[in-house]
């Protein structure tokens, strides 16, 4: 009760602080990712690892065709590369561009304020969380997501996706979603939690690299980097710094504009936490 007014003032000062110092957040951690698109081969290993780790249901051809699939991590493939000039008109003269796309865990996530029941919100870890059992399925969040990385359980898939004995493979550390709820990439929150627990038991801070997301762990070319952006020694922090990308900005003021780091739809000012490194082409 006494926290009522305190909460009001604290919330307000955090907010103003956030406005003044771009990207300030009163977070314990801020997990972020770096994906080097020049290393990504588009092999799908991350995507399948995600299915295995996060109890993702397969939906079958019919529902996939109806675009009701739920692949938290999807590998998109594009053929146009405007930056390096048009490819030959009648035949492909270079490869494709692959884009691993999952929840970008925006700091100013457009999905969060629109959820009527606050089933999606920002955790003190700086993650955009989805609480399945609170979700009532209004799907507003997915409509407001510019990346379209929120997936809705249009059906119950338990019977078809995990026919016995497949349910034994399900990861007990996270829920299996039933029909009518939204789900999305959590940056493998169960792994974050486990690492935090271990660290706490051992009375130390979480080490950089101690938490590996399933996609990162399996990526054959090690194109994915994951870590705490607030930890200045972390590889992720270093990479963000090296590429002169800062949170809380919708246009980066790089001293070297040729650096590869960029965030997708930065101009929407949703403050995503996934830094992509541009694909490189020999031209």
């Amino acid at each position: 009760m006494s926290s009522l007014l305190g909460n009001i003032f604290k919330g307000w000062s955090d907010y103003t602080k956030g406005n003044e110092e771009g990207g300030h957040h009163d977070y314990e951690h801020m997990y972020a990712m770096v994906i080097d698109l020049d290393m990504c081969t588009g092999c799908n290993a991350c995507s399948t690892a995600c299915y295995a780790e996060n109890n993702l249901a397969t939906v079958g051809e019919e529902y996939f065709g109806a675009r009701q699939a739920m692949h938290w991590m999807r590998i998109e493939r594009y053929f146009d590369e405007p930056n390096v000039g048009e490819a030959e008109a009648d035949t492909q003269s270079r490869g494709a561009s692959f884009l691993p796309m999952m929840c970008q865990h925006c700091n100013a996530a457009p999905c969060e304020p629109v959820c009527p029941v606050a089933a999606t919100y920002h955790t003190p870890d700086g993650l955009n969380a989805q609480i399945y059992n609170r979700c009532i399925g209004s799907r507003y969040c997915a409509n407001n997501c510019p990346f379209r990385v929120r997936y809705f359980n249009f059906y119950d898939h338990q019977e078809t996706a995990w026919p016995a004995p497949m349910e034994q493979q399900l990861n007990p550390d996270i829920s299996v979603r039933s029909k009518g709820v939204m789900e999305k990439c959590t940056f493998c929150i169960q792994r974050t939690r486990a690492a935090r627990n271990t660290a706490k038991n051992e009375g130390r801070a979480i080490r950089d690299g101690e938490i590996q997301t399933a996609c990162q762990q399996t990526c054959p070319t090690s194109a994915i980097l994951f870590g705490d952006l607030l930890d200045e020694t972390s590889a992720v922090h270093q990479a963000w710094k090296r590429h002169q990308v800062q949170l809380g900005k919708y246009a980066q003021n790089k001293t070297n504009p040729e650096l590869r780091g960029y965030r997708i739809f930065e101009e929407l000012n949703v403050d995503t936490k996934v830094l992509y490194l541009e694909r490189v082409r020999e031209v």
Partner: protein, 713 residues
Amino acid sequence: MSKTKINRRNFLKVLGLGGAGAALAGCDMPSTVTLEEGEEKIYSYLAPEEYVIPGVGVWYASTCLQCPAACGTHGRVREGRVLKLEGNPDSAVNAGKLCQMGQAALQAHFNPDRITAPLINGQPASWDDALALINEKASGGNVAWMTGTVSGHQRVLLDAHLAATGKGHHYAVETVNARAWTDAGKTVLGDAMPTLHLDKAKAVLSLGADLLGTWISPVTFMGQYGKFRAAPRGVLIMVEPAMSLTGANADQWVAAKPGTEAAVALGVGHLLMTKHGLSLNGMPNATSAFQSMTPAQVHEIAGVSEAALNKIADTLVSHSPSLVIANASHAAARIAMVLNIMLGNVGKTLTPGASIAADPLAPMMGSSKDLAEFAQNAAAGKIDAVFISGANPAFVAPQGLDMAAALKAVGFKVAIATCHDETTKACDVVLPLSSALEDWGTHVPAYGGKPGVVHLQQPLMEPLHADTRGLGDILLTLGKSAGVDGLDAFEDYYGYLRTAVSAMIGSELEGDWHRVLQAGQFETRAASRAFSAGHDVALGFSETAVSGLHLVTVARQGLYDGRHANSSWLQEAPDQISKAVWDSWAEIHPKTAASLNLKDGDYVRLTTASGAITTRVFIYKGVHPNAVCVPMGRGHTDYGRWANNGVNPLTIVDAHLGDWQSSEIIATASLVKIDAAGENRHLVRLMDTDQQYGRKLVATIPAQQFGRTQGGA
């Protein structure tokens, strides 16, 4: 040793879901009262190991058998169930990484369509009856084995069994193989499996070798590719008729007419000689072959422009050391080897491989040549009985081989399989095989491992189905009844394996064995090899495939040759190139489509001399206008609930068009006719666009910029 076994087994007991069952139905339903008392059961352990704690996952090392690469894995085991596989960071093959097929080994293990009991003529039977029948029918005469790639002690036992039963032959069948490359290596450099150093190469030219997708050991190559792309950044050039995953990552992708990669390679060699002044000392045959293939001829034969060819040659020279690899044909592979010699790559990016000293353990690499031979021998009545394991000849054989008749001609067929497939259906006895996650084994990676390292496969959980047995156990039983010497001492394969491994590591100590289990691998003596000087082999290529539309069947990482089609994860993982799921498609070039008046999603009938299939077209520019590319893997008829979709292009491959110097069935040689089949249905894909519409999604920068900012070249 039996004592260890009991302990070992106990920790694996499924009993003891210790309070946290599978979190099924995680969200409430209106009718479900979730706070019920007495609704769920808890089984306690009987006498668990101290480190087995319900609710805490433990990682165990094992080996992945999803493709012949034999990557090391770690499996997360909780409450006696394996939940997740990761790469074994200690393995030199995959360095902690895993591809999607490896991830999906879980689904092969938990597959709902597993065979759970022995079958005799399709009827459930007991092991005793099945083994008795096998003893009766397959104890003498011409007993053959057909497997995929096998290595380690399973191969030892298998060889022993073959030797004991007499005149039999071992057919190792792999549709997706590197036989062209290994043969060329052996012929030109005297080493079938030289070590490639992608990470040291500054340019890589691949002639149809999908090294990031399915070639030899993709995870190894992808690991190296990561380093190859770091500053200074290497350049990847791919020559092939239809875009593979490697092609999709290439800086320069060159579409060649199907089957003409060798001509392109010769053309490159020609330019290297004439334009860049490189020469081949002491290889007059090769030199003349290069000299006789002018860029103009290449353009005519392969449809590759002189500019593209020049660019390839320039890049290879300017980015030295480079590496040329090939898998398109034996001819192309040989030329690639010679090009490596000419470019001076040998010893830099191409070094001699190493194998383990214990040769019987070395992998028996499969090929499709064995498939054809098996079909011929079987049809000729030369095989009395066959054991089939890890191969699905009824699915992968082209119609021209008439595998159905061949199998019928074999008197007695035993399938040892985890799941029903087209082959088990044709077999007299089906023995239920433990999944790769329930079995013991040793595997020698064909490529990429540390020299002399053997990967150990250990069960990650108690068999799901009590009546299944491991391949090693079956081989041991068969060996014993065939009278193989020295097997009677072993109660089971575990005992045999432990003894054998102990001998190899030179220690009988419990602790050392546990260290091996923990590492998932052990080192034995390595035998290093050396290159012989470049042999001046004849270079040439088959000119059968230069005009008309050709069928190109390719394997993609995922369903592979079809063995993973019963995994819903892999069926639903979009194909890397077309992004299609759950069904087959035929990739054709827009020009071809225009000339045939086809649009995306039109059903077409592809007819070759061997038969016809009907599937939908996917039109895009990543395929040569003369090629129709149909990825393999689908078209199963009897392979579980998820596999029965799409078409199998392997059936219409023209089996009689062998490669130039081998009897390999090659994937690019069949002339094909396309007819619209009338119907049109949208091909189900992850995305229906290839364009970014001006959004900065995947931004691309020129390599010069990368050089400036990342310190690369």
